[in-house]
């Protein structure tokens, strides 16, 4: 058991992966008003694509990463077009069930193609462990922190500065009004899914580099935890997702180290329940007013 600082840094590493996934949830929720349950499984797909491109096709790391991210982005758009778009006017329960179905579909396809045995995967990140005084930080954690930082800054700039970003904000504010202003709503929604899925792919790559094993259910738990992070930060809010993700990672790593590793999941979900009861809109979320 390392020092508290070490646990904090580890938590920060896992937390920033959660934050990346949570960003996808939050953006999709902001725009499409739905929980994309299949989002967690995009991580798994990303991990498998990376595995195939690196070990089967023997591609260089950069190319493999690029292919993985593109593949997941296209997958995200496809899922939206096939499963969610026809249900845009349907009740939320129907959309939620479809999303759960999609998540199951991705998992069972992976199960059929790669079977249930976990595949060992050697990390593609080759960075030495860094020692700072008494605390050691593994190379993977360091790279994870840097990559997530870059992704978040880029995303924030994209959303606040570019035209496409403001289109996204407009659609999430009011779909009909955005359409009247000449924004292509369908394209904006597709773009959101693409960005969210690309971020999930990055998270997937970082995740397998950390845990070095791939299985079809790999995405389920981080997916749900990232969702908890998104809710914790206030769903629909981009900075909220980042804070929520990091916070959750730290809580998880601290409780794993000092309370009980078996109860970690219970604690993480307990946090979710608590947050929803005390402040249902999350830390940074806006209160929704019920209209008749």
């Amino acid at each position: 058991m390392g020092s508290v600082l070490e646990q904090l840094i580890n938590g920060l590493g896992t937390g920033s992966i959660y934050a990346l996934i949570a960003l996808g949830y939050t953006m999709v929720y902001g725009i499409a008003k739905m929980i994309n349950f299949a989002h967690g499984d995009i991580i798994m797909v990303g991990a498998y694509v990376l595995y195939v491109t690196v070990t089967q096709f023997k591609l260089p790391v950069i190319a493999a990463v690029a292919i993985t991210v593109t593949f997941c982005a296209v997958l995200g758009i496809t899922i939206e077009k096939i499963a969610y778009k026809p249900l845009r006017k349907a009740p939320s329960l129907a959309v939620l069930i479809t999303a759960i179905g999609m998540s199951f579909l991705l998992q069972s396809l992976a199960l059929l193609i790669f079977n249930a045995n976990p595949i060992a995967f050697k990390s593609i990140i080759d960075v030495q462990t860094v020692k700072l005084g008494n605390t050691t930080v593994s190379g993977v954690t360091l790279v994870t922190l840097i990559v997530t930082m870059i992704c978040m800054i880029t995303l924030s700039l994209f959303i606040s500065k570019t035209k496409a970003g403001s289109a996204m904000r407009a659609v999430s504010e009011d779909k009909a009004a955005a359409q009247l202003m000449g924004i292509n709503v369908n394209r904006t929604i597709s773009m959101t899914f693409a960005i969210g899925s690309a971020l999930a792919a990055v998270a997937g790559i970082l995740f397998v580099c950390q845990y070095q094993s791939i299985k079809p259910t790999l995405g389920a738990l981080p997916g749900i935890k990232a969702f908890v992070a998104a809710v914790l930060g206030g769903i629909g809010s981009v900075p909220g997702a980042m804070i929520g993700g990091v916070l959750l990672g730290v809580i998880e790593s601290i409780s794993k180290a000092y309370i009980s590793s078996e109860l970690t999941d219970a604690i993480v979900f307990g946090v979710l329940v608590l947050v929803l009861l005390v402040k249902p809109s999350g830390l940074l979320g806006k209160n929704r007013i019920e209209k008749v």
Binding site: P91, G101, M102, F104, L105, L272
Partner: protein, 329 residues
């Protein structure tokens, strides 16, 4: 208006009930014949009990998902509570089989129902997506606590649970579940529950206690899930926390969705179909999960397409209650 409704009910009371009683007895004879006769081989006979258990689970989940209109992803959690409570009772009591089992069933159901209250009350503040996630979270919390506790055997689980569950018990409990849930749904309380699903704000504004009915639906569903859990444990004779994960909840949800949300009959048929189908398609066992996924997606796309409405209007499909759009705009 109320008088007319009451009168109508009284008229249909005797004839309908006689028919139902006859149907129940006939159904029992059929099940007995299937279980004891030579019509089925052992593989299919062993499916009778699981079908019954899934019917109880699906019908009770239908109360929350179909009639109340709230997605609950924690049904396997209630089932786990019932299963473990029941198993611990029969493992530790030294009483005659029937007495022990009845106590296990009742206590298992009640403990699950108490957890239903514990979960139902805080969950009241939420609805829709959030509520679904919290129920999922509770399922995971229950599972990891069972995994952690010593009395439940941790990850190894419990074994050597007496195999008390047989088709007679299952049949009686399936009938009880269906009768109670159908009666509830058709009663004043059931109409209130459906009204909350159809229009939450309107239901509240005519004075329905939304919270009360929500908790009621949750608790009753949890009670029956607990009973199904007791049956499940005493059928398999081993219990592991991993049996009651999120996938189990989804499995039950698939049954409810395929049968039609808000249709008890549909749940019964779908439970039978989805339990038998993987056995028939043994070779396609790997495709089972895929099948579930496709069923979920296809049913949702079908329900919201125009085809469903047309078929319902021409009388080829029974009409299901329409879920309201409660998505934030």
């Amino acid at each position: 208006m109320q008088n007319i409704v009451k009168e109508k009910k009284n008229n249909s009371f005797t004839k309908k009930n006689l028919l139902i009683t006859a149907g129940i007895i006939l159904g029992f004879l059929v099940v007995m014949y299937l279980a004891e006769g030579n019509l089925l081989n052992r593989q299919y006979k062993s499916l009778i009990v699981p079908i019954g258990i899934y019917i109880i689970l699906a019908v009770s989940l239908n109360l929350t998902t179909g009639f109340l209109g709230e997605l609950s992803l924690g049904h396997a959690g209630f089932m786990a509570i019932g299963a473990y409570t029941g198993a611990l009772i029969t493992l530790n009591l030294n009483m005659p089989e029937a007495v022990e089992f009845i106590i296990a069933l009742i206590v298992g159901g009640f403990i699950a129902a108490i957890f239903g209250v514990l979960i139902g009350v805080p969950v009241l503040r939420l609805k829709g997506d959030y509520l679904a996630i919290v129920t999922l979270a509770f399922n995971e919390i229950i599972r990891s606590i069972i995994n952690f506790l010593g009395i439940t055997g941790g990850a190894m689980g419990l074994s050597k649970i007496p195999r008390y569950t047989n088709y007679i018990w299952v049949y009686i409990l399936v009938v009880l579940t269906i009768v109670i849930i159908t009666n509830l749904v058709n009663s004043r309380h059931g109409r209130a529950i459906s009204a909350i699903r159809d229009n939450y704000v309107a239901a509240e504004s005519i004075g329905l206690k939304v919270s009360k009915y929500k908790v009621m639906a949750f608790v009753i569903a949890a009670f029956f899930a607990g009973i199904a859990g007791v049956l499940y444990g005493h059928n398999l004779s081993v219990l592991k926390p991993a049996d009651f994960d999120y996938n189990k909840s989804i499995e039950i949800l698939v049954i409810v969705v395929l049968g039609g949300m808000g249709s008890v009959r549909g749940s019964v048929i779908a439970a039978a179909v989805l339990t038998i189908l993987p056995e028939v398609l043994r070779a396609a066992d790997d495709f089972r999960m895929l099948l579930y996924a496709v069923v979920l997606i296809a049913m949702m796309l079908f329900n919201s397409s125009g085809i469903r409405t047309k078929l319902e209007e021409s009388g080829k499909l029974p009409k299901l209650p329409k879920l309201t759009r409660n998505r934030a705009k």
